[in-house]
């Protein structure tokens, strides 16, 4: 505000910078108008729809009225399919995120370190090969995976060589953890877990693990996105100058020690970017779900993003669909903030404060020693 006032005051004096603010606004107005029209207004409208009874007939403005938090209650509180579907979709996506984000980050980092090694021949070829899945359309890759993972597809044929009878991947709704428990003889919910858990599905359901079908999508996601993030890590790795590596070697650090104590800390900003992008991207899983049959098998591939689409476009419950979108938005923002907190810069905060005090004390002490020794001479 103060800035604007000074600019205005200057303008009125008619100096060489007169009208600067005016032109500033003029130059950024295309961006503001475009962002406002295509981003801010639709988001606000969607927020309104999530509190309204709009049924998709005509514009939401004038054809609907505010009904309070009814849409949110349907999804979060009222018993029924809306709530249990949402709970199921959250469970599915949670397992997806829990597996995809760490796996794709680790794999991307591993690949980046490998193709960044100077001794590796044909680095360009490997970089291109690893990056290739990322530039291919997700629909095309999903289609290929659908063929690879059919009951008698390539994957199961290979497994057959090792005497393993592969599952019917994309059609198997059984949860991975449930299957492991079944191996240990537990096939139905123990009494402690049979009760209803959050969002209308039982604790036993929450603990099912990703279904076999979902696991296939997890493999797919790790396969396609690792290349993208590998590129980010390569860029960051190339920013680490050779001297630092050499200094670490001179100090006697081995390969692993150098990676974990020197390289990885210097990659933290990139790591943050990759984790954030991965987290947001994996909570918005949609294409693969739409292509593999809208949540089939057994709703174990249903995600909140697809549920929002289906609720709006098929059931014409636009308010409820918008409500799901905003709940998803809150989840993503909350998790991103949490992750930011975990990965926060250690140079600030309590621990950093202690480090600074100790460092200062050491400097003072050595200065005092130096003065003392000087005095002795």
């Amino acid at each position: 505000m103060a800035r604007t006032l000074t600019a205005g005051a200057r303008g009125s004096r008619g100096g060489i910078r007169s009208g600067e603010a005016k032109f500033g606004w003029l130059f950024i107005s295309p961006a503001i108008i475009i962002i406002g029209l295509f981003l801010v207004v639709p988001i606000l409208l969607a927020l309104y729809v999530s509190f309204s009874n709009w049924n998709g007939l005509g514009s939401p403005i004038g054809n609907s009225k505010v009904i309070g938090t009814g849409n949110y209650e349907k999804v979060l509180i009222d018993d029924g399919l809306s709530k249990s579907d949402f709970g199921t979709s959250i469970r599915n996506n949670l397992y997806y995120v829990l597996l995809v984000v760490p796996l794709q980050t680790t794999l991307a980092l591993f690949l980046a370190v490998q193709v960044n090694r100077r001794v590796l021949k044909g680095r360009g070829l490997f970089r291109t090969a690893f990056y290739f899945p990322s530039v291919t359309s997700s629909i095309a890759i999903t289609s290929i995976f659908l063929f690879l993972f059919t009951a008698s597809g390539a994957v199961n044929s290979v497994l057959q060589w090792f005497g393993v009878n592969g599952p019917n991947w994309f059609n198997d709704p059984s949860g991975v953890i449930h299957n492991l428990l079944a191996g240990a003889g537990v096939t139905s919910a123990p009494a402690a877990l049979a009760g209803e858990g959050p969002l209308g599905i039982s604790w036993w359901e929450w603990l099912s693990g990703p279904s076999v079908a979902m696991s296939t999508l997890i493999i797919l996601a790790v396969f396609t996105t690792s290349g993208t993030f590998m590129l980010l890590f390569i860029a960051a790795l190339q920013n680490i100058s050779g001297e630092i590596d050499e200094a670490a070697v001179m100090d006697g650090a081995g390969g692993l020690r150098k990676f974990f104590s020197v390289t990885l800390p210097m990659l933290t900003p990139t790591l943050f970017t990759v984790l954030t992008l991965g987290l947001i991207g994996s909570w918005q899983l949609f294409d693969q779900v739409a292509l593999t049959g809208g949540g089939a098998p057994g709703k174990t591939v249903l995600t909140p993003a697809y549920l929002a689409y289906d609720t709006s476009f098929t059931e014409l419950k636009w308010g409820q669909g918008a409500a799901i979108s905003f709940i998803l938005f809150v989840i993503i923002v909350a998790l991103t903030l949490f992750q930011r907190y975990v990965l926060r810069d250690r140079d600030v905060g309590k621990k950093a404060e202690r480090n600074r005090i100790r460092r200062d004390a050491e400097i003072h002490a050595s200065a005092a020693r130096a003065t003392y020794q000087e005095g002795l001479k």
């Binding site: 089939a296 476009f313 098929t314």
Partner: protein, 409 residues
């Protein structure tokens, strides 16, 4: 610099293309009442060409222009059209979405005033009635039948006398037809097939007065248990177990000797021209004969400026003459009883589908039922090795809740 130009050009082209895509999806403006946009979900080029020819014939007679838009995702494009106040003047409306659309006030109930409204099959008129008002005119329909691979049939030493008429004989022939490489019977494990067995066992989902759900009845359980039994005996396998996208593919590839599908089965001729098959009525269960009918109607949006012109077009399209032309072009069964009778004579191989229309019922489709039925379908995937009673009890709860909600509206 070169790169930047490239990026800019790509962006510009992409933007232009997406804008063009939007305007096509909006169905265009409908000024003057004589320029109509018809949106269809087409099964292929044959259907598109037939609809284009029929609408062009009407347009020529009525000094109008008709543009046929083939939707790639009909539901989504209709939703966008209605939300943008730019719904097409006439469109295909599926039986499954009809009640949801009607209850939200999307549809003009023009069909009650059609001169030929009494010519339609009563079951179709029922399907497309909302709140007791016949709303939109059915354009055609199909029923489920038992499709038998005649070569496998003969190879197993079976004759016309062996065609199954009840559950026991179905089980017997399925056993006879099952070999190492071929399963006797196959159909997709979903409500649209399993529901027919539940009805054959004498069950139903919604009571006649439309207020109570009877999903967990003993009859419905018996229907599902019969499917379980066939599967346990190894004479029934689902298309997913046979590496087929749908049971028609399993039939064509020789992996299944009998499947339960509708007249659209003739679509397999493109991929499997050498497969010979014949269609029969579904065998009766303990509760008698039953099958499902699936149908589309011609929807006209509420408060449309072009409703009169569109109604006249529907009258033309649902006339016996035009329906028989459509039947010849892409194989659907006419929705009027008189045209269907002619159809059954012209295409004796499809006569059984027409005969089934006498007792066919429409699958449950009241407003909001879709989510409950989707849930039922997903639970059905656990039928093998599962508990039919638990599956139906879960359906009972969810369907009754949605029914109460729909009735309260």
């Amino acid at each position: 610099m070169m790169k930047k130009t490239w990026v800019a050009a790509t962006l510009a082209i992409g933007l232009a293309a997406s804008l063009a895509g939007c305007s096509a999806g909006n169905g265009g403006d409908s000024t003057g009442g004589q320029k109509l946009t018809v949106m269809i979900g087409s099964s292929g080029d044959a259907e598109t060409a037939a609809v284009e020819a029929a609408t062009a014939a009407w347009a020529a007679d009525n000094d109008a222009t008709v543009e046929v838009v083939v939707a790639s995702d009909l539901n989504q494009q209709l939703s966008q059209g209605f939300a943008g106040d730019a719904a097409p003047d006439l469109f295909y409306m599926g039986w499954d979405q009809f009640q949801t659309y009607a209850s939200n006030g999307y549809l003009d109930p023009y069909a009650d005033n059609l001169p030929n409204k009494d010519g339609f099959y009563p079951t179709l008129t029922d399907t497309f009635s909302y709140d007791g008002t016949f709303t939109c005119a059915p354009k055609d329909f199909s029923t489920l039948g038992l499709i038998i691979n005649t070569d496998s049939w003969a190879a197993a030493g079976l004759t016309d006398a062996d065609v199954p008429t009840d559950w026991d004989s179905l089980e017997t022939v399925a056993k006879t037809l099952t070999t190492d490489t071929q399963v006797g019977l196959s159909f997709g494990l979903e409500y649209a097939r399993a529901g027919a067995f539940m009805n054959q066992a004498g069950g139903h989902l919604v009571s006649d007065d439309g207020t109570t759900v009877d999903a967990d009845s003993a009859e419905n359980i018996a229907g599902l248990e019969y499917i379980q039994k066939l599967h346990t005996d190894g004479v029934l396998k689902f298309p997913t177990e046979l590496d087929a996208g749908w049971s028609g593919e399993a039939l064509g590839a020789g992996k299944a000797a009998m499947v339960i599908e509708g007249p659209w089965i003739k679509g397999i001729a493109a991929d499997f021209p050498d497969t010979n098959y014949a269609a029969y009525e579904l065998p009766a269960g303990p509760g008698g004969q039953s099958t499902f009918s699936f149908t589309n109607c011609w929807g006209i949006p509420q408060n449309s400026d072009t409703a009169d012109a569109a109604t006249s077009l529907v009258e033309f399209l649902t006339s016996d003459d035009q329906q028989l032309k459509a039947a010849a072009a892409f194989g659907v069964i006419p929705s009027t009883e008189s045209a269907a009778a002619t159809y059954a004579e012209t295409y004796p191989e499809n006569a059984s589908f027409v005969a089934s229309a006498d007792y066919a019922v429409s699958p449950v489709n009241f407003a909001g039922s879709a989510s409950a039925m989707t849930d039922f379908n997903s639970k059905l995937e656990g039928l093998i090795g599962g508990d039919p009673k638990a599956i139906l009890e879960s359906l009972q709860t969810s369907l009754q809740a949605t029914l109460d909600e729909a009735n309260a509206k």
